[in-house]
Amino acid sequence: MAQKVSVDISRRNGDTGFRGAESCPACKQLLSTEELEANYKVCPHCNYHFRIGAAERVAQLADRGTWNEIAASLRSADPLRFFDLRPYPDRIEEAEYDTGLPEAMIAGTCRIHKMDTVLAVMDFGFMGGSMGSVVGEKFWRAVDAAIETRYPLVVVCASGGARMQEGIISLLQMAKTTCAVEMLGEAAVPFVSVLTDPTTGGVMASFATLADVVIAEPGSLLCFSGPRVIEQTIKEKLPADFGRAEKNLDHGQIDMIVSRPELKDRLVQVLGMLEGGVACAIGPLWEEEKSSPGRRGALAEAIDRIKALANPSRRSPKK
């Protein structure tokens, strides 16, 4: 089921990937590609976060050589035989060519600072990061893997919403991914989402906001209805900071904003914390050892004992 990732970054030519130099859209400073890549594609002058693709994200987060892609051979079908100005399969083919990715999400197991993790990453360059059947199924399989291995799940989101070309089936991916989150919750496996620019629509209104801890990148647009839809409804221009991560933080919708260079460290800290609960591990211990004394034992001793007894069953794969 697992195989090496086969992403060919050189083919990418979205707004984030061309070589040479580009000017920062925020502060207009000219930045060399080397400078930008050394700084995780963040402007060193004003902290503007350039959009990055899924493969680059994996490279930034996963320890070198630890990525094992799962569900790599899933491909979109065309259940509606959708045809607007162009057929749906044409759009997919073009997106594949542009991004070097098979779909708007890649998923795999990897290590993040030596911590085993299931990681799923979306790519806005692939049809606007839209969620269709393949994104939904990959999310489900990532959850399955997390439940089976007891590795925590990290999902990096970037999406314009549902993939219209799959009609109702794309809408139902919101329900499908939510059901997966419920299963993950039943198993008490930690789930952290990272919201990047932009995360909107059906992804924002399903798994992205259902994580145990929700992290956002600075300046990212995070909303359900996009600014243009709202502007059409209220016939007014919205302020530039509408729906941005910083506003969402004030409005209580996210836990924290983390700059990209700090993201890997912060993820490991958060995941470590979520994995470090002791009391729940006592549950099964007590079931088996109800008569056990030790009420007055030294704390460190008790904790060690509890962890030693409880963690193997929490961490080891089911099979």
């Binding site: 569900a71 051979s73 899933l74 491909r75 979109s76 079908a77 259940p79 509606l80 035989r81 959708f82 045809f83 607007d84 100005l85 269709g132 059947s133 393949v134 939904g136 199924e137 489900w140 549902a162 219209m164 799959e166 009609g167 109702i168 089936i169 794309s170 809408l171 139902l172 991916q173 919101m174 329900a175 499908k176 939510t178 059901c179 997966a180 989150v181 419920e182 299963m183 629509g201 059906g202 924002m204 209104a205 399903s206 992205a208 906001t209 259902l210 995070l222 909303c223 359900f224 209805s225 709202i230 409804t233 209220i234 919205l238 509408f242 729906g243 506003k247 409005h251 209580g252 919708q253």
Partner: protein, 306 residues
């Protein structure tokens, strides 16, 4: 086709591939690039101003309905109505979008487009139902969740996702009926149910035909074509496996006879609750999660799965 889907799935016997093959053949047969006038007729019927709304169904189906209001947090959202009703010797919780019949009601109910408070009220009522073992019926009829700045600031996205999670989590039986417009996430938020049923002339879509046309065809005038391409009619959705059943409407449409439409829903509710209530809560929840897992069409290693 529907019968094939309704067969109980025995362990080891998987009909999904068979269904997929037949389904695809049906889609191919049905597919036609020419405009089918019937599709737009359905869109107009689903939005018909005299079509029965949630309160009309409540009026005809549940005379003792007791409305419960408020999200205990910020407001009571009149775009979603909820409350307790007596039904066939038991209590059920009824929750639905309410568009408003006249101008004043429409303004008050925001044309049935909920703000986050509406979804939070729905969650509160579903959790209350769960506590007392009361089955939940949702009636879906909205153009979508309200796209407004304040609604966004109060967490429209999280309100919808939490509503979905709430429905995934319930131990009680849940039946969703799409009675008119099933518009995008604002509709789905109340439709993650054990049984999703659709009235014949209702529509259910990821995006309104008008918006879809504006985005994909760059021309809102192409809404009729978009509607057809989106496959949003009850017949389409049944073929795609997106809904569990389609209910016939009174001749000419539900707006011609509210009472008859209500009685059709009532009978379907009875049948579905009969089946669902005989299941163990845990088995029912497993079946619900598994049903939504099956939603999707993709290929893997060359094989197309449905």
């Amino acid at each position: 086709m529907t019968e094939l889907k309704r067969l109980p799935t025995l362990p080891g016997v998987h009909l999904r591939n068979e269904i997929a093959k037949i389904s695809h053949r049906l889609i191919e047969l049905n597919h036609d690039r020419r405009l089918d006038k019937n599709v737009w007729d359905k869109v107009e019927l689903a939005r018909h101003p005299e079509r029965p709304y949630t309160l009309d169904y409540i009026h005809h189906m549940f005379p003792g309905f007791i409305e419960l209001r408020g999200d205990r947090c910020f407001a009571d959202d009149p775009a979603i109505i909820g409350g307790l009703a007596a039904y066939m010797g038991r209590t059920i919780m009824v929750i639905g979008h309410q568009k408003g019949r006249d101008l004043a009601a429409r303004a008050r109910r925001n044309f049935g487009m909920p703000r986050p408070e509406g979804y939070r009220k729905a969650q509160r009522l579903m959790n209350l139902a769960n506590k007392f073992g009361i089955p939940v019926l949702t009636l879906i009829d909205t153009a979508g969740a309200y796209p407004g700045v304040a609604a966004e600031e109060r967490g429209q996205a999280a309100a919808i996702s939490q509503s979905l999670l709430c429905m995934a989590r319930l131990d009680v039986p849940t039946v969703a009926v799409i009675i008119g417009e099933g518009g995008s996430g604002g509709a789905l938020a109340l439709a993650l149910a054990d049984r999703v049923i659709m009235l014949e002339n209702a529509i259910y879509s990821v995006i309104s035909p008008e918006s879809c046309a504006a985005i994909l065809w760059k021309d809102a005038e192409e809404a009729h074509l978009a509607a057809q391409t989106l496959r949003l009619t009850s017949a389409n959705l049944s073929e795609l496996g997106a809904v569990d059943a389609v209910l016939p409407e009174p001749r000419g449409g539900a707006h011609r006879d509210h009472a008859a439409a209500a009685s059709i829903i009532k009978q379907a509710l009875e049948e579905n609750l009969r089946e669902l209530e005989a299941m163990h809560p845990q088995a029912r929840k497993r079946q619900r999660l598994e049903k939504f897992r099956q939603m999707g069409v993709w290929s893997e290693g060359g094989l197309t799965l449905f």
